[in-house]
C-alpha cells in the first residue's frame, strides 16, 4: 500500500479557471499562501521601536493605512494591532525576528498565515465591482494607494488593501472558509460587464 504525500491546496485552487475568465475590465486571481503575522504591541513603547528596526519599516499609526517596505506590507488593524503580509514561507523567520525584537516587553506575535487567502482584484471596473458589496468610499482621492480597511463585503468580513488606487489594484484578504463564497460573489457581480464589453 502506498500513502500519497499530502499536497497543500489553496482555498480557491478549484476556481482558478473561473477567476481567470472574467470580463474585460476586471481581473481576478488568487495570491495563495502569503505569510501573515498579527502583531500587537504598544505603539509608543520600546518594543514598537525595536520591531520597527527589525522590520526596516515604520508601524503605521494613522487608522486604516498600510506601509510597504520591500516585499513586506504592514497593515493597520487597530491602534495597537497590525498585520504583516509577506511572501510565502517567511513566517518562521519573521516571527523569530519579531519575538527577538519584543524580548521581555509586552507584545504578541501570532502566525495567521492559514487564516486568510488573498484575492487580487484589478482593472478599470474593479472599483465599481467592490462598490456593489460595500458602502466604503472607494474614490481614489479618499481610499488612496496604501489605504486598508476591514469591512463586510457582501456580508463577508474582508480586509481590503489598495495596492494602487489610480490604476485600480486591490488585495482582498478573505478568511479561508469565506473565500469560495466571496469568489463566487465577485464572479457573479462581474457577469453584467461581459454584456457591455466589446
Amino acid at each position: 500500500m502506498t500513502v500519497d504525500h499530502p499536497q497543500r491546496r489553496s482555498p480557491l485552487a478549484h476556481l482558478t479557471a473561473e477567476l481567470a475568465a472574467t470580463p474585460v475590465g476586471v481581473s481576478l486571481s488568487e495570491v495563495p499562501f502569503l505569510t501573515q503575522l498579527n502583531l500587537r504591541v504598544d505603539p509608543l513603547g520600546r518594543a514598537a521601536r525595536a520591531v520597527e528596526e527589525a522590520l526596516g519599516a515604520t508601524l503605521p499609526t494613522a487608522a486604516n493605512t498600510a506601509v510597504a517596505a520591500g516585499d513586506l506590507d504592514v497593515l493597520w488593524l487597530g491602534p495597537d494591532e497590525w498585520l504583516l503580509v509577506a511572501p510565502e514561507g517567511r513566517q518562521e523567520s519573521l516571527e523569530k525576528s519579531l519575538r527577538q525584537a519584543i524580548g521581555t516587553e509586552h507584545g504578541a506575535v501570532v502566525d495567521l498565515s492559514a487564516h486568510r487567502t488573498t484575492v487580487e482584484l484589478s482593472g478599470a471596473l474593479a472599483r465599481d465591482l467592490l462598490a456593489k458589496g460595500c458602502s466604503l468610499d472607494l474614490h481614489p482621492a479618499v481610499f488612496t494607494t496604501g489605504s486598508c480597511a476591514q469591512l463586510p463585503l457582501a456580508q463577508a468580513p474582508v480586509l481590503l488593501l489598495a495596492r494602487d488606487s489610480e490604476m485600480p489594484r486591490y488585495w482582498l484578504l478573505v478568511r479561508t472558509s469565506f473565500a469560495p463564497y466571496v469568489a463566487a460573489w465577485l464572479l457573479d457581480a462581474c457577469v453584467e460587464y461581459a454584456a457591455s464589453g466589446p
Binding site: A63, N64, G78, P79, C134, L136, A149, Q150, L151, P152
Partner: protein, 92 residues
C-alpha cells in the same frame, strides 16, 4: 443605511457596530455594601431619555474598539463620538 462615525475608522455602516448600552455608568465604589435593590439599580436601571443619550458602541467589524457616542434617541442622529479616554463633549 445609517453611517456611524468611528473615532478611528471614520464613517462606516451601522451593521459594523455593536451597541453597548448607556455610557458613564460607574462601577459601585464599595460593591460589598450594596443591597439587592442597589445592585438592581446599578445593573438594570438606565435613563431612557427622548433626545441626546450617551452610549457605548463597539466597531466590531473593523478596529474592534469601544467608543462613546451621543445619539439623539428621537432622530437617531449621532451628535458626537469620542474615545474612551476623552471627556464627554458638550452638545447643545
Amino acid at each position: 443605511m445609517q453611517l456611524i462615525p468611528c473615532p478611528w475608522c471614520g464613517p462606516r455602516d451601522e451593521v459594523e457596530f455593536h451597541y453597548g448600552g448607556a455610557a458613564h455608568v460607574a462601577y459601585p465604589e464599595d460593591p460589598q455594601s450594596l443591597t439587592d435593590e442597589d445592585w438592581a439599580r446599578y445593573v438594570f436601571f438606565r435613563d431612557n431619555p427622548k433626545g441626546p443619550f450617551a452610549e457605548r458602541w463597539c466597531h466590531t467589524a473593523s478596529c474592534r474598539r469601544w467608543f462613546n457616542a451621543i445619539r439623539d434617541t428621537a432622530t437617531h442622529q449621532v451628535l458626537a463620538v469620542y474615545r474612551m479616554d476623552e471627556a464627554k463633549p458638550v452638545t447643545s
